[in-house]
């Protein structure tokens, strides 16, 4: 069970959270303007890096707030957590790590 630092509540056990997958995918402001391929990309294609991943978490059984995290998917170590809408202090290496 991971230990996750909620930006509002501090370190809390993973069971209080829900993971929302890759972060920083903004919903297109005009979905109708996207062709099928671009819309499919928005809906389905995800970074799946072996390494640092920016992802969304919700402290659903806590303060109820969504926030973002950088986590290394190899070690499962959190590098940082930060509020929704904010940018991480370091940019996630969105390239997959070989």
């Amino acid at each position: 069970m991971l230990l996750i630092a909620c930006p509002h509540c501090g370190n809390r056990p993973e069971t209080e959270f829900r993971c929302g997958g890759q972060a920083h995918i903004a919903r297109p402001t005009d979905p109708a303007a996207l062709d099928d391929a671009a819309w499919s990309e928005h809906l389905f294609v995800r970074a799946n890096p072996r390494g640092v991943h920016a992802e969304r978490w919700c402290h659903v059984h806590g303060c109820g707030r969504w926030f973002n995290a950088l986590r290394d998917t190899v070690s499962d170590r959190f590098i940082e957590t930060y509020p929704a809408g904010a940018e991480p202090s370091r940019s996630p290496d969105l390239q997959t790590r070989a």
């Binding site: 993971c19 190899v74 499962d76 070989a98």
Partner: protein, 417 residues
């Protein structure tokens, strides 16, 4: 290839088994192959085997970064069934099941395919409706599946509690009698031995680090820890690592890789005759030939390559097992482990072409790929040989996520109301 048989075994036993040679060679990589398969799991090895046996393409290499069968092939709970709802999935998994039925003889390697039956328990009215939908659809697709009353469930699998006092009482079940389990390692080894005997090079400890493309963008070879290897066609069959490998060719995949855990109990004398799955309480269980209860847990909620999940996933699974089988609380967990499963948005696999010429992919099997191993290898071999999908894998394209023609078994089965 030295044939395995009772007589060869007996004659070897008289001379201390000194005559058995390697089951597959340990070749140096050649500069180039007609086909290079990235990933030496069951699916990759089966692909190589069928390339050689069905299509006569033997100038093939299987590149495995560790040891063959060391990924999800050797880490799953070995359930084999074909009672899928949609025509596309049913055809694919039934194709595999038919190959399973003759696989030991085909490979001359006992993969211990055991048709003990898979019983899926219904715990609420929604389950009943959903399972009957499966039963009817399967029958019209020529796949055996039958509805059992709860008393028939109990008769088929005596450890089941049908007293009605459970939190979610058993209302009945859907039974596929031809379904069952197999010995996972043997599948990898059997395919490896068969492919090797026909000239396929199985190269272990060889990690792919890059995919080389020519000016037109077509894939022409792979950079590996053992040097560059040219390839006429490349088939990526890397399960949880598919996103990483495909990124080497700048292809982004609709995949996420999750930890999936499983566990076994200490071995006991035969007590559990079949496979039981219970979607409502999230449990599945069987007993191995060795006597261990084999129990599958769920995925963790986050992507990870650690092959390690949380304890709460295990405890939730055992909650469910002990709810349906309360007599097992005194059994002990002997070993637990994790795999990395690659999951697509509709939880069905992707088998076919990619936007990169000469690069093909077979991935997205999620939590259920083992059962498809022979069928997956068979149709992917066809795809690689012909550069066109086999009719069975034609619907499982990457493009379906654009068109919306998804094959979403889970959505069809599990919506509460």
């Amino acid at each position: 290839m030295r044939r395995f048989s009772l007589s060869s075994l007996l004659s070897e036993s008289l001379r201390g088994h000194q005559g058995w040679g390697r089951q597959w060679r340990d070749p140096q990589p050649k500069p180039a192959y007609d086909v290079v398969i990235v990933g030496g799991g069951g699916h990759g090895l089966a692909t190589a085997y069928y390339l050689a046996t069905v299509h006569g393409i033997t100038n093939v290499a299987v590149l495995e970064k560790g040891w063959i069968g060391g990924g999800n092939t050797g880490r799953n709970t070995t359930i084999i069934r074909s009672n899928y709802l949609y025509d596309e999935s049913a055809a694919l998994y039934e194709h595999a099941l038919k190959l399973w039925e003759g696989l030991s003889q085909e490979l001359n390697y006992n993969v211990m395919f055991s048709q003990r039956g898979v019983l899926m328990l219904a715990h609420n009215i929604h389950d009943v409706q959903s399972f009957k939908r499966h039963v009817y659809a399967n029958r019209l697709n020529g796949i055996d599946n039958e509805w059992l009353s709860k008393e028939e469930c109990k008769a088929f699998c005596p450890p089941i509690d049908i007293s009605g006092t459970l939190r979610y009482p058993v209302l009945g079940g859907a039974l596929q009698r031809r379904a069952g389990t197999a010995r996972h390692d043997a599948v990898a080894w059997g395919y490896a031995r068969g492919a090797d005997a026909r000239g396929v090079d199985i190269i272990q400890n060889c990690e792919v680090k890059g995919i080389r493309r020519d000016a037109s963008g077509a894939a022409i070879g792979v950079e590996t820890t053992r040097g560059y290897i040219g390839a006429g066609r490349i088939g990526v069959v890397a399960a949880g690592h598919t996103s990483t490998v495909m990124a080497m060719a700048d292809v982004r995949m609709p995949l996420e890789s999750y930890p999936l855990q499983a566990l076994v109990s200490e071995p006991v004398k035969p007590v559990f005759p079949c496979v039981v799955m219970s979607n409502a309480v999230h449990a599945y269980i069987s007993q191995s030939d060795k006597g261990e209860l084999v129990i599958g847990a769920g995925t963790d909620q986050y992507t990870s390559y650690s092959q390690q999940g949380g304890l709460h996933i295990t405890t939730h699974t055992l909650d469910a097992i002990c709810e349906v089988f309360p007599q097992f609380t005194r059994m002990r967990m002997l070993r637990s482990w994790g795999g990395i499963v690659d999951v697509t948005p509709d939880r069905s696999p992707i088998i076919g072409k990619t936007p990169v010429p000469n690069l093909f992919v077979n991935c997205g099997w999620g939590t259920g790929g083992f059962k498809a191993t022979p069928g997956s290898g068979h149709v992917f071999a066809h795809t690689l040989a012909k550069a066109e999908p086999h009719p069975i894998n034609a619907p499982f394209t990457l493009d379906r996520f654009r068109t919306g023609r998804l094959i979403d078994e889970a959505a069809a089965a599990a919506v509460a109301h």
